[in-house]
Symmetry: C2
Subunit: 672 residues, 2 copies
């Protein structure tokens, strides 16, 4: 799915990414059902949460500590994309449940900053205790609007080091001092009502599903430490997927991500894993060599001891290497500056980004099975939508069921975006049991979904129309498809940044005055994050290298009418160029055909057509046997029909007679 | 010409741009003729300058001031691209005359930092007093290599504010303090031998050649000051083209650029112009209203008083708006931080970047006449190269002569790159009277040149072959041409950054494993800089807007064999898209056909061919009548022949009989 909306770095998205391309305007379906604080008494819809008690409790805490203002971001201590209920402090405080937004509370005022995608939602959920600030960058506003001359504080454990610095920069010429305090004041105010940590077991990922043993991974990171010119003595890991990846462990503390609350301090002579000890059984402790103390034994420490432990380690003659993007100020501040080695991403984050051949094979295999689930759903829709019995929510549930039947399935990798008609033009739409739209042959339907499997994480978007699309819908769809094709087949020098090349996904839309307001793709993990940084096409992603996986997902959104997105996951592979050189290209591993009903073949160049037919041939070769073996013969027939080679002159729907034919174009093979 | 090699911001190029794409390796034609400091006595070629006296004189000055190290960049007090002899302090001190490089002198050591383009040149020109440091980023080296624990100083007047800050950042954790001293110690050491300022007259550019009166420009900048949220009371202009543009004045203090040494302090109630007063005649003083003191009268101050004057102004209740890219630390440091409003580029720089309709017409007109000069030269070469009597240097001189005959001509806009065969693969090659290569029908010839005219500045590159090019040469040439075409015909949303779109100029090369190691284009002025920032395709250029002019210049360089570059100047215009929106595209204003002998038409798509034929039709319409009117009938005939519409099936050279025919493709017109 598109990561400008659901990025792995909510802080970066909030502070930096907005305004780069602008956002599609949200369609206000029930504009009248928002609060009105200008009348007396104010009008408050039923969806509003009364936050007076929360604010009173927080201000009491602030009064005790003599603080003027308190910042409440919506993230956890690991900068996670998805967070547990107990970390939804801003939502509890404000009533606003959107995934992006920061609250600031002073003794007299309370304000929420969020971007245009969430303004209506905020006006529906917040009571009149809260001012809604529509500016994208909270830093610009803090000095003038909220704070005047006293102490400002945030939650050190949930403010990334970089953001803390940028707040400080913004406050530099003021009388305001940013201070760091613990424990968290919202937690103090929340008190006994704050949800408990559920002690979910941490389990070992079977060797069949891992790229390397944890011992090999630890040795590799230590070897990078030894080669580093600044001679780090330790690496500190804060992001949950860093620790999960390093030890080949998984858990269930976070929705959609198989992670457990954790930190790791990997030094040149020790390995310290900070977790809830009770979640590790004796087998896992043995797997980690936790009973010894050598350099290849894992010392299991309590999760709550990380700050103290890092502080103690930092008092020695050490240098600690961190990735600033995922390290909170709460840990950052306990390490003296001269003992810090800062990179944007930790060596684990960067190493994890490049999948070895076993990890590549695992991720590919998960995409074959994922394609089976998606195809089963598309076939079922084709039969049932005309009956008028399918809605967005029940459809999404059925898809989850199909995915759940696949081998190694471990649930969805994010909340399915199942959006019909005008709902698909909304940037962050997901249906609910209560609020959803019926699917219809007269409307386009956008499905953006993914699965977690023990061997890989998937993410795919297809847009379909079962009736007669308009000429404009066909043109827009085809231009989005051309964007997907042009970027997928691009040959580029090794180490080119994704940001430089993502325009190829936009050119066909630009040509006629169309565009889309989100990023073009993001990295993805092996049973890890569905948005796995630092791979992707944004300005803060690292350059593309062989072995990385990224989504490629151009789109087009017509406000109030329809939305199109075509997303595939692709592996970065070596390109065989005519002249020798270090060049790369993509190999798409998502294996579901596009909707023939929406493709205007006349807009495709011969090269694009050749690419598409080659891709269809690959789908047949990889998914066809899987369907046959599972006796899914109706789905197999559907697949053959929908991967029939397209020709510039042929009618858009191929006759049944040619079902098994393979065109000369398809077997030519435009590249390996 | 390609600005990664000859960028307007030598400091930025030195500190930041290197390594982005890498540089083509320089071909060391006479590798043996470099210094050898490892033998005793050292071997020094005749090209080496003995710098012992210079170093002794500088160290005496350093000793007096108790300084440990002294930094000597190669730029003037205005960050000019081309600098006068009296500002070539680094060249005088080191012997090394290359356009990029910084020297650092301590009491015991002397070092020069420059990039790979200049290593051989430095080894030929420097004696053994100097260490050559091959790292691109001098900041990385200062603390460890040169300075240990004493004061480091630079030349405040010639170090841009931003670089000063970055030096300070690099030195932060050391015991070294960066201090700013005046007067310049190299000048002190240079003494009476330093070349004098030649008092060249400053003249008024006739109204016919200006976009607006200076009064209108001043009012416009003041209006921007009033609308600015931070309420500046003054704008300080340091770049020479800022003052020249603002007052519609020109001079002759700088090679290739019609500028005069100057600063401007434009306040809300006064205008202070800092120049050598003796260069203004009474007519010019009257033109500037210099006898009054109102807000629309120009107070002419002495050039040397700028620092003192700005300091005095900054003591008041004021806010001074500057562009950091062109403001030296010498001025930056006299303004208290809280009174500074810093942008990367001043409002004059940004306003000047967008040409109004009169300026656009002027620039277009200069390109028509420039095309006549270039075509005359190409026609002459076609006849004379086979005779074996033309060399790179005499050719360049003849071209200058042809340009000199054009109306409003005011000399070349940079040193002509006239490079035959393998010389064209050298990044910064220009022939000299002594050292040049003969032109031959067996080799490719690259010509990158431009003119200064009262109405506009031009810059164009063509590559030709008069014999039988190899298949590889034709392929490489055609792919460079496709890059030029694909970027030129791109339709893109308003405010897209050039950096995002420049890959379209590379795709056809990337496809087969080829690339080029320089930027893709730069802004250009109206009788101003040939590399006019901040327009272009680099990371530090501002987004593209209607009315900007930029060069588009992909290339390909085969070390030791040949070089190809195809450069045109293009105007950013509104694009008429099928669906409404704010979209832009380019309109090429350079009007010289490409070499048909080097185009492999089979590589062009129908859209590229259509674009090319439409461009050729435009050349015929605009340059044809000019040639006829001037009775340049041989050139007219040549033009018709070389702009004959190309067809995918037609032979590469069109028959004479079809000379005046216009193909249906050409009159279709792919865009306006």
């Amino acid at each position: 799915m598109a990561q400008a909306h659901w990025g792995c770095c909510p802080w970066l998205v909030l502070l930096c990414a907005l305004g780069a391309w602008g956002h599609p305007k949200s369609v206000d379906l029930t504009a009248e059902d928002v609060r009105n604080c200008l009348i007396s008494p104010p009008y408050l819809p039923v969806t509003v949460v009364n936050t007076t008690a929360q604010l009173t409790a927080l201000r009491q805490q602030m009064h005790i500590q003599n603080l003027f203002a308190y910042i409440i971001p919506e993230t956890d201590a690991h900068m996670s994309e998805y967070i547990g209920t107990r970390d939804k402090r801003r939502a509890w405080m404000t009533g606003f449940t959107g995934s992006a937004g920061t609250a600031v509370v002073t003794m007299g005022k309370a304000g929420l900053w969020t971007d245009s995608r969430y303004w209506t939602q905020a006006e529906r959920q917040m009571d009149c205790n809260w001012e809604l600030h529509k500016e994208a960058d909270i830093k610009e506003d803090i000095p003038g609007r909220i704070v005047t001359d006293r102490s400002l504080t945030g939650e050190p454990e949930t403010v990334p080091g970089g953001s803390w610095e940028s707040y400080n920069m913004a406050l530099m010429n003021s009388n305001i001092k940013l201070v760091s305090i613990t424990p968290n004041l919202v937690d103090q105010a929340w008190g006994s009502e704050k949800p408990l940590v559920l002690s979910q077991p941490i389990y070992v990922l079977q060797e069949a599903f891992t790229g390397n043993t944890w011992q090999k991974k630890v040795s590799d990171i230590r070897s990078q430490m030894q080669k580093h010119p600044k001679a780090p003595t330790a690496v500190l890991l804060s992001a949950l997927d860093e620790t999960a990846w390093l030890f080949n462990l998984r858990g269930s503390d976070i929705p959609y991500n198989p992670f457990f609350y954790s930190y790791t301090l990997l030094t040149d002579s020790s390995i310290r894993l900070f977790v809830n000890r009770s979640c590790l059984n004796s087998e896992t402790l043995k797997y980690l060599n936790s009973s010894c103390t050598g350099s290849m034994c894992v010392q299991v420490e309590d999760y709550s001891q990380v700050r103290h432990n890092v502080q103690a380690y930092a008092s020695g003659n050490v240098k600690i290497w961190i990735g600033t993007s995922y390290t909170t100020y709460g840990l950052y501040e306990v390490i003296p500056t001269e003992k810090l080695i800062e990179d944007t991403y930790s060596p684990v984050m960067v190493t994890k980004a490049v999948k070895n051949s076993k990890e590549q094979a695992l991720l590919r295999a998960s995409h074959v099975r994922d394609a089976v689930a998606v195809i089963r759903y598309l076939v079922w829709l084709e039969k049932n939508v005309p009956k008028g019995t399918v809605d967005e929510f029940s459809g999404a549930e059925l898809l989850n069921k199909f995915r759940g039947k696949e081998q190694f399935s471990s649930g969805p990798s994010f909340e399915t975006i199942s959006a019909s008609g005008l709902n698909a033009a909304l940037a962050h739409y997901s249906p609910t049991k209560e609020l959803h739209r019926k699917l219809s042959s007269d409307e386009m339907y956008l499905l953006d979904s993914g699965g977690q499997y023990w061997d890989g994480t998937t993410d795919i978007t297809r847009t379909v129309h079962w009736g007669t699309p308009s000429a404009f819908q066909k043109e827009a769809y085809t231009r989005v498809l051309i964007g997907n094709i042009d970027l997928s087949r691009l040959v580029f020098p090794a180490n080119t940044s994704g940001r430089m090349m993502e325009v190829f996904a936009r050119r066909a839309l630009w040509d006629v005055g169309l565009n889309y307001g989100h990023g073009t793709g993001h990295g993805i993990g092996n049973f890890l994050c569905v948005h796995e940084w630092p791979v992707g096409f944004q300005y803060n992603n690292i350059p593309m290298a062989k072995g990385m996986f990224t989504s490629i997902e151009p789109g087009y959104y017509q406000d109030g009418e329809f939305g199109i997105r075509l997303e595939d996951v692709a592996l970065v592979v070596e390109a065989k160029t005519k002249y020798p050189g270090s060049y790369l290209t993509f190999e798409v591993v998502s294996l579901v055909p596009y909707d023939r009903n929406l493709i205007d073949v006349s807009l495709l160049s011969p090269e694009q057509l050749q690419y598409l037919n080659h891709y269809y041939q690959t789908i047949r070769e990889k998914v066809g046997p899987e369907l046959q073996q599972r006796q899914l013969l109706e789905e197999f027939e559907w697949l053959q029909q929908h991967t029939e080679p397209l020709s510039a002159k042929a009618p858009h729907t191929a006759p049944l007679a040619s079902l098994l034919a393979v065109s000369s174009l398809a077997i030519l093979g435009c590249r390996v």
